[in-house]
Symmetry: C2
Subunit: 711 residues, 2 copies
């Protein structure tokens, strides 16, 4: 209701500022992304060059010491700053952003401190050669930037800007955070369309339909491809290659036919199984870590150091297991590579030979992905090396994710997927026309599909990464299959992590038992409400004894004949009123003079994690006996449902409209005007099944495999 009073100038300011903010988010996020990459490449690059030079000089022991000590120091730095300065910066950040956009406000997740630690911590953790990614933290960073800009700076550090006062509400801030997270993905993979789709698919409630649309279009892509294969052999009259507008500028590359569908199906199934296994193991490991973390901060840092040392040993030691390969005569690059990246690492090998496992494992993740995706290198890597690399990545990334440092999952998953994709390609050998680089790309797609269960955005991100749209039909098939297979086993990785963190995430689909229940069945506890003109003492008492965030305001007999619902008032707004101390000595409706003392900004939403507390408000005995008129400050048109509404339908309303409090009104008129208030906690399966054990889950358990398909 603060909106109505806005003048035209203010509306213009608002619109202009919103665009300007989006622009600033884009600029800042891309600068951060670039700086992040620059720093990682240079830090890790120098480390690898120094170590390699020592090894060329034969000083292997010294090389190992330098390598592992550098890694340890970087890891220690990352975990110490994360653990002591901003614990909210640990992990991927995507679950936090997702939960925030769903309506769950975790404390501190978007503070300036978190942002800074997220950036620095991620740079040093990735430079430490830990098997973690930077995409997740970039998404979190983007969301932080957006949130901080939207708040007009960080209040704690006095960096505020008055023009931004319009954005202090949930709706605008959510929009900005969505933009920020999309910008984060765009900056980490240079994939702008992928970023948009990521935000839509992962951050909103639309995924069910999106997936089905995607399925339809995938079928179209495949059938057309097959039909055009037929026509290319000249059986379609004047049709030739024309008609379906498509400019096959690069058709010389990536040729494939219907016969290649079988290996692609195989990859999809394997990816789905491995992906769900990955999720299962990661969930277990994180639970174990949580158990360790309860013992104190020291344990967190010790664990990070242990994993760093273990990683260093593996990365340094494993390549010695691989035999040296003679350099191919027709190599396009220098062999062995002396510098940093490249396909042919010399490692311990004699001149003219290279160590293929070192090229993969003793390298930054980005370079490893490049090596795996590269084409025309079918005979460069050997079964043993790729298999060792896959196993290492699979387990190391599971153990590395949970450490107290900003750590993403995208890159490890891509590396792991690419390695087993390439392995499958090598096993199939000459039975398939596809080259091994292509298999690696498809393997990455299948593993992404199996763990993260995103289809459209993963597909576009990978296409934007490889810049080859001709892969599209195959990639779509792989993703759909791996997602379907994996959905049969468990939930997607981010949902598992959110559940572990205890976020009350609201899913878009209603569970079947919600159809059997009415709204009235889940309303619990005594309802706390205020009269339109309420005694200050009562207000303070209620605020102190409950932790609700919204209270219905009801007009009683003196003001209305029968009790009437006036609106809903938020705890934060009441606190602002109490702080202002605009009390009246008698219960009368307040006049416009009193109202004029308030400006809309005072009721604006505070930055995350910085809400006022009732304990901070000190009132005298005299003030406690005065009255407060809540009418002008309550939301006069809250969303309501009748108590006989089915719970499933109420959930749709709650989810689609994106509200925090839903008032339940009675069916018959001879009862109080409000019978309860629903929040997201009331829709949690645990809560509902706790109240109604008869609607036991067991009855539905057997349907679990099929439920993910239900929209």
């Amino acid at each position: 209701q603060d909106w109505r009073g806005r003048s035209k100038v203010e509306i213009f300011q608002y619109v202009f500022m919103k665009w300007l903010l989006c622009f600033c988010i884009g600029i800042i996020v891309s600068l951060i992304g670039f700086a992040n990459n620059l720093a990682v490449e240079n830090l890790a690059g120098v480390k690898f060059v120094v170590t390699s030079n020592m090894m060329i000089a034969g000083r292997f022991g010294m090389g190992f010491v330098v390598f592992s000590v550098t890694n340890l120091v970087l890891t220690l730095f990352a975990s110490v700053i994360t653990a002591f300065v901003a614990p909210a910066a640990a992990g991927s950040g995507i679950p936090e952003v997702k939960a925030y956009l769903n309506g769950v406000d975790a404390p501190e997740i978007f503070s300036l401190r978190t942002l800074v630690i997220q950036i620095i911590g991620n740079i040093s953790a990735v430079s430490a050669s830990l098997l973690i990614g930077k995409a997740g933290p970039m998404v979190h960073t983007g969301a932080c930037v957006a949130s901080i800009l939207g708040q007009g700076g960080s209040k704690r550090y006095r960096l505020t800007w008055r023009w931004l006062r319009f954005f202090k509400n949930d709706r605008d801030r959510r929009d900005l955070v969505t933009c920020g997270s999309a910008a984060g993905i765009a900056a980490s993979f240079r994939a702008p369309v992928g970023g948009v789709l990521f935000a839509l698919e992962e951050m909103s409630s639309w995924s069910a339909l999106l997936w089905r649309i995607f399925f339809s279009t995938a079928v179209v892509a495949i059938v057309l491809r097959a039909l055009i294969d037929v026509c290319l052999s000249g059986k379609c009259g004047l049709f030739g290659k024309g008609g379906l507008i498509m400019f096959d500028v690069y058709s010389e590359n990536a040729s494939y036919h219907l016969g290649d569908v079988l290996p692609v199906l195989l990859l999809g199934v394997v990816g789905g199984i491995l992906g769900s296994l990955y999720n299962f193991l990661l969930d277990k490991v994180l639970r174990a870590y949580n158990f360790i973390y309860e013992k104190g901060v020291t344990w967190k840092i010790l664990l990070a150091c242990a994993i760093s040392i273990f990683t260093s040993c593996l990365l340094f030691g494993l390549p010695f297991l691989a035999s040296c390969q003679p350099c191919p005569a027709d190599a396009l690059e220098e062999c062995p590579t002396i510098g940093r990246s490249g396909n042919f690492k010399k490692y311990q090998c004699p001149p003219g030979h290279y160590n293929d496992l070192a090229s993969l494992i003793f390298n930054t993740n980005d370079d490893a992905i490049k090596n795996l995706f590269s084409k025309n290198t079918d005979f460069e890597f050997h079964y043993f090396s790729v298999l060792v690399f896959f196993v290492t990545c699979f387990f190391l990334s599971i153990f590395s994710y949970g450490i107290v440092a900003p750590a993403g999952l995208f890159v490890p998953v891509i590396v792991t997927g690419a390695s087993y994709g390439r392995f499958v390609g090598m096993l199939l050998g000459s039975n398939s026309n596809l080259n091994h680089g292509l298999f690696a790309v498809l393997g990455a797609a299948s593993f992404l599909g199996g763990t993260m269960r995103m289809t459209v955005s993963t597909c576009v991100i990978l296409l934007e990464l490889t810049n080859n749209l001709l892969l599209l039909p195959m990639m779509m098939v792989v993703l759909l299959i791996s997602k379907t297979v994996a959905d049969g086993f468990n939930a997607n990785i981010y949902n598992l992590i959110m559940k572990l963190k205890g976020f009350p995430y609201l899913y878009s689909h209603a569970e079947p038992y919600m159809r059997q229940l009415l709204v009235g069945d889940v309303v619990t506890g005594p309802l706390q409400f205020f009269n339109g003109i309420e005694k200050v003492e009562t207000i303070v008492h209620v605020l102190k004894t409950t932790n609700h965030n919204g209270f219905p305001v009801v007009d009683g007999p003196p003001l209305a004949a029968a009790p009437v619902l006036c609106g809903l008032i938020l705890r934060a707004h009441i606190l602002t009123l109490l702080k202002k101390r605009v009390f009246m000595s008698s219960p009368v409706v307040c006049d416009s003079n009193t109202l004029a003392q308030f400006k809309a900004e005072e009721f604006a939403k505070k930055g995350s994690g910085r809400s006022d507390r009732i304990e901070d408000v000190e009132l005298s005995e005299e003030e406690l006996n005065m009255y407060l008129d809540l009418h002008p400050f309550s939301n006069a048109s809250p969303y309501t449902v009748v108590e006989t509404m089915s719970l499933a339908k109420a959930l749709i309303l709650f989810r689609e409209v994106g509200i925090r409090h839903l008032l339940v009104i009675p069916k018959t008129s001879n009862r109080p005007p409000v019978v309860g208030i629903l929040t997201r906690h009331d829709f949690m399966p645990e809560h509902i099944l706790g109240l109604h054990p008869s609607q036991s889950r067991s009855r539905w358990k057997r349907l679990r495999i099929r439920l993910p398909f239900l929209s």
Copy 2:
């Protein structure tokens, strides 16, 4: 409520069928799309080959006669079948699908008849060299296929299938139609991801946020591109080209730098202005056509024929204006081309020369686009030819769209945009590093942005068309600018057409004056409601005298102490009850025996345009005096709002949850339990401003330019 009784087997059937349907939609739509292209290419191809052969033999007059008569016959065929068999198939079909997904059920739009005419009519109209596209009709075709499959076949032609009985409800059918329309775009451009985005952007209410997300990611893409330009010159240490994962496999092509941003901005602005001009003119022409069409079907067909003859004259005559060009010595293709497509049409020219205008204009649209988009042809077309081609396309497509035949807008807009893009490129000449083919692509993007105002999906469709992801940053800029510029002038083309057709389309954003109004302010007319147990006579009378589709059911004094709202019953369900004649002689609650006579399918939603009418129900005098218990058949949990809810908030509820009837309940308890019922018509600006002229638009008119930016 028919859902509660479902068994597990039925749920499995449902899920399985839904996926199977999506699969079938994909298969059928791609087959139709392929057949469409095959037919058009062969029909138009034979026509062009025959005509060209005659011209090579010097028989120009004969060539013209063959050309124009073929075109006329094809146009006549298309317009006659459209006008007489299925008038709903005329036009692009996208506005109809969009309106349907918004909740507007136009009669016959998804019938089998419309589908068949749509396919055949579009093939013959496009083959007739009219300047119309096939993407729009393909979208409509996809939606028809989806809807017919969802209904389980067409009842009129007795092609029904019992397994599909589950899909006879709004929600499922809308989902399927969305899939179908995405499949349509995917099939016409071989652009699956583009299809998904098209469905999301154009068909849903999400576009506002989508656009803003897109803006953020565009900024990221551009900044990163610029920074990498800097790094390519070797100033970033070990960074090189690495870090930001991106495999520039094809980087030899499409190189561009920051300096090329200026021409791109220019293209965006020009595209925006031309696009809004195009929309303005098309709107006027369609209004004029509507005026002519009111005179009868004959006029419709005559108009189509006139346009066909005019088009034939232009296409055949204009190339004679262009001077013959000598064939370039280093031409990659045969010159002049003798066959059908290719860059060098011989036309009237002597051997060794070609007519550049004929290559563009005397060709199918697809081939013209290919010629315009082709690179390394900077000196092949001349100013005059491209300009003539642009002007012809611009006006011809405006006049061609409105004829009574299935006619799309995508392809004409792409052709027009590509021609002026190329023209701008030629004017800039050596001042830009970009080649003219690239300018053509960007021109097409800007014109699409200016007319259709879709950003993300247009971008992806064009990328999928040209298979060159490196164009992405420039294309994003062009689209954002042209959309912004054009939004300052008028609405997007599909919204204009929908308004012209009178569809009550519900926009996702609330107009500012809606914030000032309460729900109670727009509720009109006397409310018709039924008692829980109602006399048949009353029901029939109310159904005959009103045309409401939903009625609240209220329990009066005999059954409840005070009037209580029981639910909402739909006209269609009442009609089913009346037809069954399960009446009771006295007003008592009906028992389970009566209920057992009904199966859920009987209440399923009928196919579009095939609803029962009250006039068809004949009841005897005795039956009219009997009673009907409406309780078991009404929706017991309808969505409700309190009358003091702000109209803007009610609109959000209405739009997001996607409902058709919203019950308004009173604030105080001493009034009847329902005070009104809101439908989409009550949210139309015309209706609201008619009721409240004081909230005149003039006050807000000056804000119109800015309003599209408001979400």
